[in-house]
Amino acid sequence: MIRDVLSPFTAWKNLFREPVTIKDPLNERPGSARYRGFHQNDLDKCIGCGTCETICQNGAIDMLPVDGVPAKLGDSGLRPRIDYGRCCWCALCVDVCMTGSLTMSNEYKWIESDPDKYLYMPGVDKKHWDNAELGYRRHEERHLSPGDRVDMPELHAEERIGSFIEMVKGYDIAQAQLEADRCVSCGLCIASCPAHMAIPDYIKAVRNGDYERGVQLLYETNPFSQVCGRVCTHCCESACAARHEGDPIAIRWLKRHIIDQVPQERILQLIGKPAAPTGKKVAIVGAGPAGLTTAFDLARLGHAVTVFEAQAAGGGMTRYGIPEYRLPYDALDRDIAVITAMGVEIKYNHRVGTDISMQQLETDYDAVVLAIGLHQGRSTRIPGSDHPQVRKAVDLLRQITTGEKIDVPKSMVVIGGGNVAMDIARSMARLQMQQYGEIRVTLTALEDKAHFLADPVEVKESIEEQINILDSRGPQACVIDADGKLLGLKTWKVLSIFDEDRRFAPKYDPADEQIHEGKMIVEAIGQMADVSLLGDALTEKLEWNRGRIQIDPNGRTSEHWLWSAGDCVKGPDVINAVADGHRVATSIHCVLTQQEAKI
């Protein structure tokens, strides 16, 4: 009891203690190294994907345009603005940031009398903590970021080299869902896709396992999903937000996955029937992606469409230019079958200019579309390039597709560093393997390895298939012996390709000369359109631009009845051709319905 009375007095000992009071709490107390204080944003690193806005459970983040930050491919030009009347400093926005641009400083004092001043755009509104060293950063292991890309199952080099079997196997459902799960649905990709496909939406369809919805979405913007799901140049993936710290989402493979999951009959049902006939007739020259896309769109709108194709089958360059191991013919056939099911009539083996003239088309149809592609190979014009064993890649590829007999050489040289060069090198390698059991293909490219025009994956796979790829080699002459037999290709080392004005003017080092042995030389340095079908009168009448037919933004030529689309006016690319097809179809539909209205 006495103890209980006295014991509290021990508190007096604190009289002799140093005070614990902080002298100047306003300035002496910086936030800790991990402190979640006010935001910072590196404007150059930020791509405006809006993932921060999506994760914010407080609805605190707005994405807004900023002066001096234009929208460009892969960057929306928007930057986050945070409402500090909403923020709770949970840092989820920092954790999910796709580029690591958004961080937090260790500053925590912000006083205002006017509550409207708390709308804060980090990086844009200059603050003294913009360069703070300390503060919360996303963990280096990126716990909340999407994981790594799901590897695509492929045939190994040994398995695939002896045949033309499709090498990419396609995702199974579990793999596709895993890959689709990585997508943050920011939509940056849409702008970079020439056809502006609804990419985030169809990836969501994969996530939800709703493939029928996926097919509907694909067909809204692209009737060549089998083709594009396999061989698209996937510009979208180069704009993907995930690319900044890892591999982009495999958008192309997911597209293919959707179309693989739905049976052909069901696809036909999902797409529905064409509109009531309008009575208008449209002729399309060339059954490639551009021509058939135009045909599909117009037929869907109820116009009567006839396609004239010189070859025995449709698909254009996708059939006759792309090897079967990349795009099996039956996949292409399925795409074309959907298009013909829409009521498009395709006249195969009808070469315009020979079987029917352009004048005839002009009189018989309300509109004509020229979608003839680029089927003529360019020549290097080096000495000896007129030798019969010096071939053009496009011609050879076409021969392989049609099954014509090819005299496969035991050794050969390919000139060119683009995708076509890789295609022909790899196709010939397969034929060599089948015939001789060994591969002797040399590929010489002007560019160095870092600047190859071909897809890096193509280069990698070509090397796997034992193709001897030499970079920075400029072709000088085809070496022909006295008997007129082709021996090989002479090349010099390339010093530079362009001059100061960025014009093509390669410089060589003659001292570094090599002769590459080859019984055949294939030129794969580019293609051009064969416009002889136009006839002199029309050629004369049309306006031209650097050897290509001049068109307006809608694809219409200087002749009011004639449109042109695809590679022949826009350069080689499937998805561009599809986009072009849509554009031309819209333009034609517009013109045709306006005519109707006038009457």
Partner: protein, 213 residues
């Protein structure tokens, strides 16, 4: 309405029966009035200095931010040396710190407490919730903008703001008071109708007089 607020007959100790209408009888019916500066500029300045150096905070922890007030009023941060202290009743306080979100139920008590405080009086809004709803922006039970219901002098960002930030906010408030710009109480009197209309639009059972002085 609560039973004790209803009009009723009460028996006094000496046996009389009288009618009581609590809302009318227990409260003054006058509204607030604008108080113009009463003295010459130099004296008013002195007064403002004195006011700024004696911020007496009402000890009403309305929301989560109240938890950072404890460190502030204890030895480590020791706000007393800045002339800031806590009082248990509105009659002794001139600063109301709204510590975060206000549910409509608390808003009602906050209005009563605020109106009972002595003028000139000040309000500090603490954290995101007082500015634009904060993380309860979609809640059915919290107000989103404090300035709709009370005149606010200073806002402190954070969720929740640290004691140091609170202190910085109070220092800012002192500057405003010294500059003679902390006119919240007068603003409230001037726009009384507007404030009342806002208050009544969210407090559905208004069972108190309009002005709780």
């Amino acid at each position: 309405m609560k039973e004790e607020l209803l009009k009723r007959i009460v028996k006094t100790p000496d046996g009389q029966e009288i009618e009581v209408d609590p809302l009318l009888d227990y409260y003054c019916q006058e509204g607030p009035t604008v108080q113009p500066p009463a003295y010459t500029a130099i004296i008013e300045k002195l007064f403002n200095w004195a006011r700024s150096e004696s911020l007496w905070i009402l000890g009403f922890g309305t929301g989560c931010g109240a938890i950072e007030m404890r460190p502030l009023m204890t030895p480590r941060f020791d706000a007393y040396r800045y002339g800031i202290q806590w009082r248990p009743t509105p009659r002794q306080s001139n600063l109301f710190v709204i510590s975060g979100y206000l549910s409509t139920k608390t808003l009602k008590r906050v209005i009563r407490s605020y109106e009972q405080m002595q003028g000139p009086k000040y309000v500090v809004g603490l954290g995101s919730c007082t500015i634009n709803g904060g993380m309860y922006w979609d809640s059915y039970n919290t107000i989103k903008r404090l300035d709709d219901y009370l005149p606010v002098d200073v806002y402190i960002a954070g969720c929740m703001p640290r004691p140091e930030a609170l202190l910085a906010g109070f220092e800012e408030l002192k500057k405003i008071i010294r500059a003679g710009k902390a006119e919240g109480a007068n603003l409230y009197a001037k726009n009384f109708e507007w404030y009342k209309a806002n208050q009544k639009s969210v407090i559905h059972d208004w069972d108190m007089p309009d002005y709780n002085w």
